[in-house]
Amino acid sequence: MSVQVAGLADAKAEGPLKLAVPRGALLEGTLDALDAAGVDTSAARGESRALIFPGAAMTLVTMRPSDVPTYVEAGAADVGITGKDVLLEQADRMVYELLDLGYGRCRMVLAGRKGDGRLGESQRRLGMIRIATKYPRVAERYFESTGRQVETIEVKGSVELAPLIGLADGIVDLVASGRTLDENDLEVREEIVECTARFVANRVAHKLRAAEIDELTARLREATAG
């Protein structure tokens, strides 16, 4: 085998960038932002059930938002877009967070039943509150940082159910309009953090495909500014 030093320029010639696109609530905003940044998203907008949409400059790969850090950390996708809530919950995933895209704005909150004193009462009489959430690590960090002890109960489905039938004293969840909370007789008690869509990159891709990633970052910044 002949050993030939390829150098920086050749390292980049590795086909189009793979971009992880979140399905669900962030999809619409993500495709709009990509369009505005000059990335062709027409294939991904159709009714197609395909997961991968190859393009000349970029391949779009659609997935659950919570899978984006996994794919990007491993380098299976070079760059990706997902919510800050996902990044906070998976803080141990080593991905570079390059840009706040501004859309998909929602709040991570602590909520309890309207007019119900369970949260305070458990805290006072039992020294510990029970919190149902899809974000156990965010919840634990928050309560730890505010000096309270908490039992987090991880649930996968509608988290609003938990305090209504006595599984938990309250919930930590993501709220956009607050309508779901309201309809389920819940109210926001504390605001934990505001979350928006973020542009992330794989650590190695960020080094070896610097020019492409910098350019896409600049175009996304321009497209989502203001």
Binding site: M1, V3, Q4, V5, A6, G7, L8, D10, A11, K12, E14, E73, A74, G75, A76, D92, M94, Y96, E97, L98, L99, D100, R198, N202, R203, V204, A205, H206, K207, L208, A210, A211, D214
Partner: protein
Amino acid sequence: MIHPIPPGTRDILPDEMRELRRLHRSMIEVFEGRGYDEVATPAIEYDEVLARGDGRTAESAYRFFDERGDLLALRSDMTVPIARLVASRYADADPPLRFCYLANAYRAVRPQRGQMREFAQAGVELIGAPAPAGTVEIIEVLEAALDAAGLDRAVIGLGDADLYRQLLTELEVEGEARKAVLERLAMHDLVGLEAELAKAGIEPGRVETCVALSQLRGGREVLEQARALGGEAVERATARLGETFQALEERGAAERVQVDLGLLRDLGYYSGAILEVYDPALGHVLGGGGRYDGLLKRFGVDLPAAGFALYLERIHVAQMEEESRRGGSV
């Protein structure tokens, strides 16, 4: 019957072992060919001794007591044990000293492909050779090792560990705020970095400068771009990097080196030049290193030093990926 082994450890069976052994041999051959003599140290050390080298011993995944009640730890790398070895056994030797190793180390990481809690490292330590000549030497050894492994597309990132420490001092960011900023930088969380700098009272223009600085990576031209952003700390770091890069160029060894002002390795003992190794076939860093001119002093011998370590399992994964790429599949 299946008997479990601890998470993050694994058995290596003959097919893999044969390939790994070939890789091991080629690494040691390169190192010895350049005057680095192989040493071995115990896998277990006194926790106190390891902590002397790296205050942040949180990465030692395994700590336990021996029969006398002394606290022991499994080493998390070989740099600290070799610093101990040099201070204990070579205190009066004439520098520079050149050692290489092939050893298992242990860290509390989330196990995944190429990243286990018990992992093999091959590397070198060059003790008593200051920058830039010492740095250039280890980069050349590293390049030879990558060539020997067949990773001809691998790239070496070259950064400066003191850049942000000095920059933050210049900006008078101290205490908790400083820690928060460095943490964001190490994670490359630019959104968080901007927020933390703003919180520390840095004016928007300079915040932008810091963020832009961390994004500069490429050839020699990024040194100029960095200098244009201004400041004493940047000036000093780019001068150090420029000197090293120039020496590499003169020796024809700069081809696969990427100057990276955003590089910040999280091991506490680095100072001056820092290195990271990437291959386009793998999304994970293959290895790293740099200078640790203050480390030996903590063990009582004041000598400049530099070195690197390659994660051998990851190199092996990259070899396989590169082979399948050359073979035309994927």
